[in-house]
Each structure stands twice: as C-alpha cells, then as structure tokens.
C-alpha cells in the first residue's frame, strides 16, 4: 500500500499548498483591502458630482441632502459588496477561484467576444500546453541522451565541453534566448518566422486532424524502434515496417499543401527551440552526474562482469537506478517553466497564456490576472503531482512495497 499512501499524502499536501497559494494571490490582488477603499472613495466622488449637478437636490435643506446622499451611498456600496469585511470576502473570492468560477474580465475578451475569464483562458490554454509540452519533451529526450553519452565518455574533451555548455545554458531563461533566436534565425538567416501564431494573413483553414501527422509519425518511429529492441533479428522487419510507415506519414504530410496547422507548427519552431535550449542543460548535467554516481555501484560492476553490452548496462541498469533522483531534481525545474512562459510568449508574440498575462498586466485587468495565477498554480500542482506519480512508478523500492 506504499504507493497509495505516499500519493495520498502528496495529494493532500499539494491541495493545501494550492489553496494557500490562491488565497495569497487573492489577498495581494485586492491590495490587502486597499482596492476596496479606492472603490469606495470613487463611488463617493461620483455621487457627489452627480448630486451637485442636480437642481432639485440642491433646493433641499442640508440635513435632507445629507440623509439622501447617505442612503444612496450606502446602497451603492452595499450593492457592490464593499461593506463586506475583508477577511470573509477574500475567503469567498478564494472559494470561487478554486471552483474555477473566474468571473468577467474588465477589458479583455476572447476572440469570439466573450468577456468571461474562463473563456479567455481556455481559448489560449491549448496553445501554451502544446508549445511547452513539445519543447520540454524534446529537451528531456535530448538532455538525457546527451547526459548518458557524457557519462560514458567522462572527462573526455567532449564531456568537458558539453558540461560547460549545459551549465552555462540552463542558467539563462528561455526568453533571453528567444530574443537572440529572433535576431539570428528570424532576421539574420531568415530560416523561421520570428513570431506570432500564424502568418498574416493566415493560410486556408484545415480540419483539426491535420495537426496530428507529425505526432503520429514520431510515435510510429519510436514504436518501431522500441519493438525492434525486443524482437529477434528475423522479426525485425515488423519494426522497420512501422518505422517506414512513420516516415511515409511524414512525407505525405510534407507533400500536402501548406495549411493553417502547418503554419502554426512552423511558427512554434523558434519559441520551442528557445525553451528547449534553456532546459536541456539541466537534464544533461543532472543525468551525467547521477549516472556517474550509479556507475560506481556494485550491481553495475556485477552486470559488467556478466558480460553484458555496455549499452545495455547503461540503459537497463544504470539509467533505471538513476531515474528517480533525475525525475525529482527536475520536477520543480519543469514546473517552474510554466511561469517562465510569461515573457517567452510575449517576446515571440505567441498568443498563449503567458502573453495573455502580459496583456492583462498592461491593461490592469485584475480578474484575468487572478484567474491566470489560479490556472498557473493549478498547472504547477498538477505537474508536480504527475511527476510524483512517475517517481513512484519508477522507484523500484516503492514498487517493491506494493508487491
């Protein structure tokens, strides 16, 4: 029952964290009660001016004027809920934020004109999710592969060079690379579009299915490769067939006319490259160091002594044992990448959540800012929980408890 208990504990902890984080956001976004005072003063000012222009009101005796003014003022304040004490109010706001009841934006609206914060956010959520998932998966695969290679050739010039490269690239956030990539690849070499979601004007629309062929191609190639690793030599044709099918899908996709989704994917290349470039270093550096530590262990020595191929020793014994710490040490790096999206997307003018955040800040649209912070917190918590889940599946010790 180890796994379940562990996961439950983590889930409870993460849920509590989430609630507190949202509460903090709500309190800050309402300026520790200052915003209410500002709104009240504004209502007072507006009413004063309104009455000053009213000749009928001015003819009344002063006591009657004051009485009427107070009635209207109190009613307006009451109607906007400004008399509610600050503490219960923040609690109410927090509860509605937790229920994803995000309210209406004051300035922004979604592309079909809806001012509902949830509509605005969910319109852009898939774009950010796709961009950052692709970038992080690419970075993880490249990083782990490089890390393994560096560990195998430890202390060689290749290892030293790549270590320095990894250490120096991962301290710089993606948006700074974004700026350089736009200058070099967008303007200098003109190999990729420098920003935006699509070209202007966008190419002809296509069915949603048209977005998937590259994913299917990569999936088939990986499936074929993995199948071949477990198949005997004479059945390897199956794997090669699957890989060929993947290649065929890719070729067919390339040959179809340039449509909306191709354009979108093409515009994602530079931002994804910038994110991947700033993330891969932490994967490769961590993998290298952990793999080197595990390589000294006795069971690796035993595996070598049994005459296994160095490749198998690395992938089946070393990486397996090193993976849980790799996953933990990177869990939070990855989760933090979500918030880094704010400036990266702004730099690339990519209309995802980050760019929305930037717009909401510029327009001082508080409900959108609160809603986005809620979604970010939720994404962080979900990412961390998924990583916990992966961790518990990877860690043989926790698995052993289950058996």
């Amino acid at each position: 029952m180890g796994v379940v208990r562990h996961l439950t504990r983590r889930a409870v902890f993460l849920a509590v964290t989430f609630v507190i984080a949202i509460y903090v956001t709500v309190v800050i976004a309402n300026g520790f009660g200052r915003i209410d005072a500002i709104l009240k003063a504004q209502i007072y000012q507006d009413l004063k001016q309104q009455y000053a222009r009213n000749p009928a009101f001015n003819r009344l005796p002063p006591e009657e004027q004051a009485r009427q003014f107070n009635i209207t003022y109190n009613a307006t304040v009451e109607a906007q809920g400004l008399n509610e004490p600050f503490l219960p109010k923040t609690v109410r706001y927090t509860v509605s934020a937790l229920l994803l009841n995000l309210g209406r934006a004051t300035q922004l609206h979604s592309s079909d004109g809806s001012p509902a914060v949830s509509a605005i956010i969910f319109e852009r959520l898939p774009r950010s999710l796709v961009l950052f998932t692709v970038a992080n998966v690419v970075a993880a695969v490249v990083g782990i592969w490089l890390g393994l290679w560096m560990a195998r050739k430890a202390l060689s010039p290749f290892d030293r060079g790549m270590t320095v490269l990894s250490v120096t690239t991962f301290v710089v956030p993606p948006w700074v690379y974004g700026i350089l990539f736009i200058l070099v690849f967008g303007f200098g070499l003109k190999v990729a579009p420098s920003g935006g979601l699509t070209s202007v004007p966008p190419p002809p629309p296509a069915p949603l299915l048209a977005a998937f062929p590259p994913l299917i191609a990569v999936g088939l190639a990986v499936a074929g490769y993995l199948a071949n690793k477990h198949l005997r030599t004479k059945y390897r044709a199956i794997g090669y067939g699957v890989m060929a099918a993947g290649a065929a899908v890719l070729v067919a996709w390339v040959l179809t006319p340039y449509d909306y989704f191709k354009d979108m994917e093409w515009h994602m290349v530079l931002p994804a490259a910038a994110v991947a470039f700033s993330v891969f270093g932490s994967w490769s550096y961590t993998t290298r160091n952990l793999v080197l530590q595990v390589m000294d262990e006795d069971f690796v020595f035993a595996a070598r002594a049994r005459g296994l191929k160095e490749r198998d020793v690395l992938s089946k014994y070393v990486l397996r044992a090193a993976s849980p710490p790799i996953v933990t040490s990177l869990a939070l790096t990855l989760a933090a990448a979500w918030t880094g999206a704010i400036i990266t997307e702004t730099v690339f003018n990519y209309p995802g959540l980050g760019e929305l955040f930037f717009e909401a800040i510029s327009l001082q649209d508080a409900p959108v800012v609160i809603g986005l912070t809620t979604v970010y917190a939720l994404l962080l918590v979900v990412t961390v929980f998924l990583l916990d889940l992966t961790y518990s599946l990877l860690d043989p010790r926790i698995k052993a408890l289950r058996r």
């Binding site: 902890f13 993460l14 964290t17 989430f18 507190i20 984080a21 903090v24 956001t25 800050i28 976004a29 300026g31 200052r34 430890a154 202390l155 270590t163 320095v164 250490v167 120096t168 301290v171 710089v172 956030p173 948006w175 700074v176 700026i179 350089l180 736009i182 200058l183 967008g186 303007f187 200098g188 420098s194 920003g195 160091n289 080197l292 530590q293 939070l332 989760a335 979500w338 918030t339 880094g340 704010i342 400036i343 702004t346 730099v347 003018n349 955040f357 930037f358 800040i361 510029s362 001082q364 800012v369 986005l372 912070t373 970010y376 917190a377 962080l380 918590v381 961390v384």
Partner: protein, 477 residues
C-alpha cells in the same frame, strides 16, 4: 569574465558620474543624437559609408554659425536683419535620418518678425525652403524640422518649396508631382521624404526615395532673420542627424545605449550578489537549524520549503509590482522574502545530517557546548564552503528576476537596467521587422541581452568551478 565585469562595475561609476543616469530620464538631454540609430561599426555589414551626425553649433561656439547683424532706421521704423550661415561636408552613401534647426530669437511685440531659410547644395543650387515666424523668445529654442512629418513643423512649406524648385528645374511636372504625392485639403497623404530630395542628385530619380542618389559635397544653411526693434537678435544651430551612432547605437529618444549598457553591469552585479547572498545565507541557516534541531522545527521548515517551491512566485511578484510600483531596493527585499526557504535549505539540511554524526561534534557536546553554540561555531563553518557555490549559482536567478520584472515594466522606473532597456525595446517594436528596419532594431535588444548572458554565464562558471572543488564525487571522476 568575472574580473572584467567587476572592473567594469568599479570603473563605470568613477568615469561616468551618476548624473548621466539622471539625465537618462530627461528627453531634452539627448536632442543632439539621432533616434533609433544603429552602432557606427554596423556599416561593415552594409558595405556603405553611413552618415554620422553633423552638428553646427550656435554662433559664438567653435565651428558655429557665422553671423552678421545690421540694424538701421528708416523714417522712424527700426529694421534689424540677422544673417546666419553655416556649411557642412556630407560624404556618406546614405541620406541622413533627420535635419533639424534650432533658433533662439529676441523680438519685440511687433507682428511680422520673419525667418527665411535657404538650403545650399553642392551643385550650386539654392532652395528657399521655408519662411516661418518665431514663436518663443530666448532662452527657449524654436525648433524647425526640415524633414519631420508633423503638421506643426514647417515641413509642409518644405515640401511645397521642393515641389516649386523641381518644377522650375523641369525635373517633374505639376501633374506628376500631384499624382505621386496626393494632397487632401493641403495635407500630404503620403508625404515625400524631404532629405532624399534636398540631398539627391538633380534628375528624375530624385522623386523616389528608393532611387534617389546622394549628392556628396558641401551643403550650406543660410538663415535670414528680419525684426522690427533695435534689440532684435537671432542665433541658430542645426543638426543633421545620421543613421549610425557610437558603439551601441541609440534608442527611440536618441539616448546613447552605451551609457545604459555600462551602467547595467554594476546594477546587475550589485542586485544579483546582494540578493543571492541574503537569500542563500538565510536558507543555509534555516537548513542548518532544520537539520540540527530536527523534530517539529525540521518538519515545519521542510514543509514550508516544499510550499515555497510550488507557489507561482513570478505571477505573485508581478501582482505586487502592479499594485505597488516598487523601487529597486524594495524589489530586492520582496525577492529575498520569497526566497527565505527553498532548494538550498534542503541541500544544507542533508549536509548537516551527515556532519552531525562526526566526532568533533560529539567532542564539543561532551565538554558541554550548548546546541546553539555548536550550530553557529561548529556546523555552520563546515557548511559554508558549499554555500559559496550556491551563492554563485543563485546570482543569475536574481539578475534574471530583476530583468524579467523590468522587461514587464514593473522594475525600477528610473534606473536604466538591462531588463529595462529590453522592455523599452520590446515596447517600441524593436523585435518586429518593419520596412524601415528589416532586421528589427537589433542593436537595441542584442547588447542588453548579451550583457545579461555574459554576466550570468560568468557566475554559472564560477559556481561550477566551486562545485568541482568542493564536491569530491565530481572531482574524482
């Protein structure tokens, strides 16, 4: 790398005094610089000799305008005429970005005080470009743009003068001009580019800015001022703005970006080091306390650390920035508060758990040292070396947090930090290709970005070097 940075950080405040930074926010201080000019050396890429800025100062200053003033009296009416002349040699292969003239004038309460401006060309042509009336008295300057697009400027007069001149020289006809540059209610809908005509070779190609060729040689200004009192006087200066400037170019207000780039280094270093020192030391002490005392304190510190790692820090910081418009010191304090516990706490705790079992701690305990004394006199000194590496590795994080906030316009509004410049540049569309700047305004974003990367990479390498020395596992492999 780090040595260079520290040298820069020490030298810049000595050689560039702080009032340079204060004048950064004063748009009047930068009127002699071209706006949005690329660095001078960028002409290597274009293969053309690009124009520098030519200054023609006031009469009385070295190299200034020549001035002749006559005042005479005809039948009880005083007439004062001032003639100002200056010339400059123009040898570049491209047109200047702007031509402006500034005049200080002294005149009485008589209407009709007039300024006439003539533009002399190397081919002997002289164009009477515009007449104007001075609007402000000395010491304030009347500004006249010879190329500006605003209606307030006399440039419409400039366009009409050019039109009349070109028609007179049979280069174009009235109908062709009106077809090329249509006017509605006297306002040019697509105004001609005055400098390509004032300084182009006199043939049909002069009409199109793309084909107009630069006529090299000596150009001259002749300004006539006619006033009606005995005290009337005038003085003038002119600036022919280039398209390149200095080592790092200029921004949209004509500010020299080199100043901001150089000042960015000490600001970034001070901010990064102060923030990293404060947050890592606090985290170290908390981590040590957590590992040494154990029990409930340990549990509390560790859960808080987990919590801090999960909350979305940047969005919350941005919220704070919007609501309170923090200065750089307050930003630093807020960032440190948000980094009281974190990854370092966990690392230090694990080290302390190992150190705890060593014999010298037992020895200290056996002679009756208190728990606090052991923590501060025995354990912390053992842990400190590891924190050096962590401090070096945390500096980049603080530099980037400041840069991120400044980029979003939430940093210190007065200081020209690297992030602030990047934010300005983004706000002025420096990252978008336009017809005027097909490569974006690359100098405006490249140098600050490179400065940030240079600094943070220096600290990352320092941290890595520390790590290698202190982490025996890494060293032996």
């Amino acid at each position: 790398m780090l040595g260079f940075l520290i040298l820069l950080a020490v030298l810049v405040p000595i050689f560039a005094p702080y009032n340079v930074v204060q004048s950064w926010n004063d748009p009047g201080a930068w009127t002699n610089n071209p706006k949005l000019a690329a660095p001078e050396w960028s002409e290597v890429f274009t293969g053309k000799h690009l124009p520098r800025t030519a200054l023609m100062p006031y009469n009385g200053e070295p190299g200034g305008f020549d001035k002749v003033r006559i005042s005479f009296n005809v039948s009880n009416q005083v007439y004062t005429t001032v003639v100002l002349r200056s010339s400059f040699s123009f040898q570049a292969d491209a047109f200047p970005s702007e031509i402006k003239m500034f005049m200080t004038t002294v005149f009485g309460n008589v209407t009709g005080t007039q300024i006439k401006v003539f533009w002399g060309r190397p081919d002997g042509q002289e164009i009477h470009i515009f007449d104007a009336n001075p609007s402000v008295r000395a010491p304030y300057e009347n500004t006249f743009s010879l190329t500006g697009p605003t209606i307030k400027d006399p440039s419409y007069a400039v366009y009409n003068s050019i039109r009349d001149w070109l028609i007179l020289k049979n280069v174009t006809s009235e109908t062709e001009w009106d077809a090329l540059f249509p006017r509605i209610g006297g306002i040019y809908q697509n105004p001609p580019k005055a400098q390509t005509m004032l300084m182009g070779k006199l043939d049909h190609s002069i009409l199109d800015p793309q084909t107009s060729e630069v006529l090299k040689g000596n150009y001259s200004f002749r300004i006539e001022f006619n006033g009606f009192t005995a005290t009337d006087d005038a003085n003038a200066r002119a600036v022919v703005y280039g398209t390149v400037f200095g080592l790092a170019g200029t921004d949209f207000e004509g500010r020299d970006l080199l100043v901001a780039l150089l000042w960015g280094a000490p600001v970034a270093l001070a901010f990064g080091i102060a923030g990293a020192l404060a947050s890592v030391l606090i985290q170290t002490i908390l981590g040590a306390i957590s590992g040494w005392y154990g029990g409930l304190i340990d549990e509390f510190v560790q859960r808080t650390a987990d919590f801090y790692l999960i909350i979305p820090t940047l969005p919350i910081l941005i919220l704070l920035g919007i609501l309170y418009h923090l200065g750089i010191v307050l930003i630093l304090i807020v960032l440190v508060v948000f980094g009281i516990v974190g990854a370092t706490t966990k690392v230090v705790r694990s080290i302390v758990l190992q150190v705890k079992e060593e014999q010298f701690i037992e020895a200290a305990r056996s002679y009756g040292a208190s728990r606090g004394r052991i923590l501060f006199r025995y354990i912390l000194p053992r842990v400190m070396p590891y924190t050096f590496a962590l401090i070096a590795l945390t500096v980049p994080a603080f530099i980037f947090l400041e840069a991120s906030l400044s980029f979003l316009g939430l940093g210190d509004p007065m200081l020209p930090t690297w992030g602030h410049i990047l934010g300005d540049a983004y706000g002025q569309s420096a990252l978008f290709a336009s017809r005027a700047f097909p490569n974006g305004m690359w100098w405006w974003v490249f140098f600050p970005a490179a400065g940030i990367i240079f600094t943070t990479v220096a600290f990352a390498l320092l941290g890595y070097a520390f790590d290698k020395v202190l982490n025996p596992r890494l060293r032996e492999q």
